[in-house]
């Protein structure tokens, strides 16, 4: 474990690197972007990164679809797939609520910029 070099990580664990990158970019977008819709997109990206991590964790070399007939195997783990399916549903509901709130804010204040909203609300 200890003699894993940076190159090894990139070549053999690129899926995890991808998870970290995607989540970090999404999180950064959610925090740094001023546009509320883009914040919601960032949130989605952050969550998608996590889903990819779960899918990666299910992978087995040479594993087949986990539909058990007679013997067979090795199978990939079905559990993370089920988790991701559920988490996707949760994520979609969140996106819907987030966009609904964004729409309401736009209807009320006529802007999608977080900084402008903060100013208007501070004056209220």
């Amino acid at each position: 474990m200890t003699d894993v070099t940076f190159i090894d990580v990139l070549t053999t664990r690129h899926a995890y690197v991808l998870f970290v990158l995607l989540s970090a970019i999404g999180l950064y977008m959610m925090i740094a972007n001023e546009n509320l819709v883009k914040k919601v997109i960032g949130l989605n990206m952050f969550q998608t990164g996590i889903f990819l991590f779960f899918i990666t964790s299910a992978y087995r070399v040479g594993g087949s679809t986990p539909i058990v007939k007679s013997g067979g195997g090795p199978y990939v783990s079905p559990l993370p797939h089920v988790i991701v399916l559920t988490a996707i549903v949760v994520g979609i509901s969140l996106t819907a609520v987030g966009l609904a709130l964004t729409l309401r804010l736009y209807a009320e204040y006529g802007t999608l910029r977080a900084s402008a909203l903060r100013e208007v609300i501070a004056d209220e």
Binding site: S23, L27, M30, L36, K39, L43, F46, Q47, I50, F53, F54, S57, L79, P80, I83, T86, A87, V90, S93, L94, V97, G98, L101, T102, R104, L105, E108, Y109, L117, I121, E124
Partner: protein, 522 residues
């Protein structure tokens, strides 16, 4: 039989959540009766569960139900023990109180009642589940409905507060999900009991296990609103309708804190803390900072609902500190404080809501002299406020006492000192409210005099009122009194008195918690 209570407690409010909207197509006012029937049934079931796990029923003190008949490590397990029964009872009682309180005020749409029932079901699910991923799903149900309920106010600022909460709350839940993912990779299971065994086999100093706990901890700190991750909370509590503020402040963070206790002690166990002193110290440090900064921020606020919101940051810091202390006494105090804080905050937010509807009072200065006009509500807010400080006899005393006692027993003098300082700070901001309520003249509309009066110096304040010069205008403004339904005041009274009555309940809590803590601290 008793284990069938567990799925019923969750499924009943979730299913009932459909009916206000469905019946609403035909009957305009269908929401409240449906919600009330469902909440009362849930309260009876929760009472039954509490009786079933109590030592007096003679049965087992821990019930397990395998959903759909799939056995434990493969299927999802629901677990009812003393700790979850206390939470279920608190949730159902506060839910009924909120519903009675909200009959005449606050959002009366059928959508609100559907959301209310979904939130109750989600909270009960968090309290009763024995599966880490199932907990995530309930966490998100609670989150989603909270965002919707907060935004149900007509105020555009409520939508802003809800959206902010949505971003931070979802990030918190997602971080929790990453933690669960790491733990799943380390152990291959999601069942709490099973994972506890597997984690011990993997080893508590394994980096994967440490990272899993770290993500779960940060995720919950966001949900519970521990400083510096609390920024969503004041806006959400302040701009939400009064009914919703009371409901959410009393239960949502409370249940998240319960879930953190459950995961920290039932899944990662006290051995994990012992093996990772750095994590334990970090928890204690963050908790202490949260206690002090939360209290100080509460002291600086002018809007009353914001004072209470920041006070929650401090109170939950205390519960987090109790989690980090690894002491049975402190954890006992934490559970009592969870219940106590829920009841006290519900009383305070509801009391503030009554005074806001009657007199339009928003800032602390607006409350000047209201004790003469609304003696009952003010008196009950005073009772709950003093309970929050920890003045006996009240449940606030019990919780703080046991947490502080645990800190002293563990030799954590720093935490004990922080709790003492926070009590003084709590006394300062509650004292400021009481002084305004009881001793200030209702004259200070001028912002500047209001702020000086808030500093809490009685003599200065008197002279400023005399100097104010605009007494008549202010009094005339305050005279517009809107009528308030009696049941709202009754609910405030009952909740406030319950915080006092529960002072004698330490033995009762111990009966429920001893078997649970026996497993936590073997």
């Amino acid at each position: 039989m008793s284990d069938a209570l567990l799925p019923l407690l969750i499924a009943l409010p979730l299913l009932a959540g459909i009916f206000p909207l469905l019946l609403g197509l035909r009957f305009e006012r269908a929401g409240w009766p449906v919600a009330m029937t469902a909440s009362l049934t849930v309260a009876v079931l929760a009472g039954w569960l509490a009786w079933a796990v109590s030592p007096w029923s003679g049965g087992p003190q821990r019930f397990v139900h395998d959903l759909a008949g799939y056995p434990a490590p493969y299927g999802i397990e629901l677990v009812g023990d003393g700790l979850s029964a206390i939470l279920a009872l608190l949730i159902s009682v506060v839910a009924v109180a909120v519903l009675i309180y909200g009959r005449t005020t606050g959002p009366q749409t059928n959508a609100f009642y559907s959301g209310y029932l979904l939130l109750t079901g989600g909270l009960l699910g968090m309290a009763l589940t024995g599966d880490l991923f199932n907990l995530f799903v309930f966490l998100e149900i609670v989150g989603l409905v909270s965002y919707a309920l907060i935004a149900s106010s007509d105020d555009g600022r409520a939508a802003y507060g809800a959206l902010k909460y949505l971003f931070l709350g979802t990030t918190g839940a997602s971080l929790y999900l990453i933690g669960v993912g790491y733990a799943l990779v380390a152990t291959g299971t999601l069942n709490m009991g099973d994972m506890a065994t597997e984690l011990a086999a993997v080893g508590y100093t394994d980096p994967l296990v440490q990272a899993a706990f770290g993500f779960i901890l940060i995720g919950f700190m966001l949900k519970i609103a521990i400083f510096p991750l609390h920024t969503w909370q004041p806006d959400a509590y302040t701009y939400a309708p009064d009914t919703v503020s009371a409901f959410i402040s009393a239960l949502v963070s409370t249940t998240a804190a319960y879930a953190l206790i459950r995961i920290a002690y039932d899944v990662f166990t006290v051995d994990f803390f012992a093996a990772n002193p750095l994590i334990t110290d970090a928890v204690l440090l963050v908790a202490s900072v949260s206690i002090v900064v939360g209290s100080l921020l509460a002291l600086l606020q002018t809007e009353l609902k914001r004072v209470f919101a920041y006070s929650s940051v401090a109170q939950f810091g205390m519960i987090l500190a109790a989690i980090g202390l690894q002491s049975e006494t402190a954890l006992f105090g934490a559970v009592i404080h969870l219940v106590g804080h829920g009841l006290m905050k519900a009383t305070l937010f509801m009391g503030a809501g009554v005074l806001a509807s009657a007199y339009g009072a928003q800032t602390v200065a607006d409350y000047a002299g209201l004790a003469k006009r609304a003696p009952i509500t003010s008196g009950m807010m005073a009772v709950a406020g003093l309970a929050l400080v920890g003045i006996p006899p009240s449940i606030g005393t019990l919780g703080k006492w046991f947490i502080a006692l645990g800190a002293v027993e563990e030799g954590s003098w720093g935490v004990a000192a922080v709790i003492f300082i926070s009590t003084l700070l709590t006394l300062t901001y509650i004292g400021r409210l009481l002084e305004t309520l009881y001793f200030n003249q209702p004259a200070t509309t001028d912002d500047e005099t209001g702020v000086v009066g808030d500093a809490g110096d009685a003599t200065d304040d008197g002279s400023i009122v005399a100097d104010g010069g605009d007494t008549e205008r202010a009094t005339a403004g305050i005279d517009d009194v809107a009528p308030v339904a009696t049941e709202r005041i009754v609910v405030v009274v009952v909740l406030a008195l319950s915080t006092v009555a529960l002072f004698g309940a330490a033995g009762l809590f111990a009966e429920f918690l001893d078997p649970v803590f026996g497993r936590f601290f073997q």
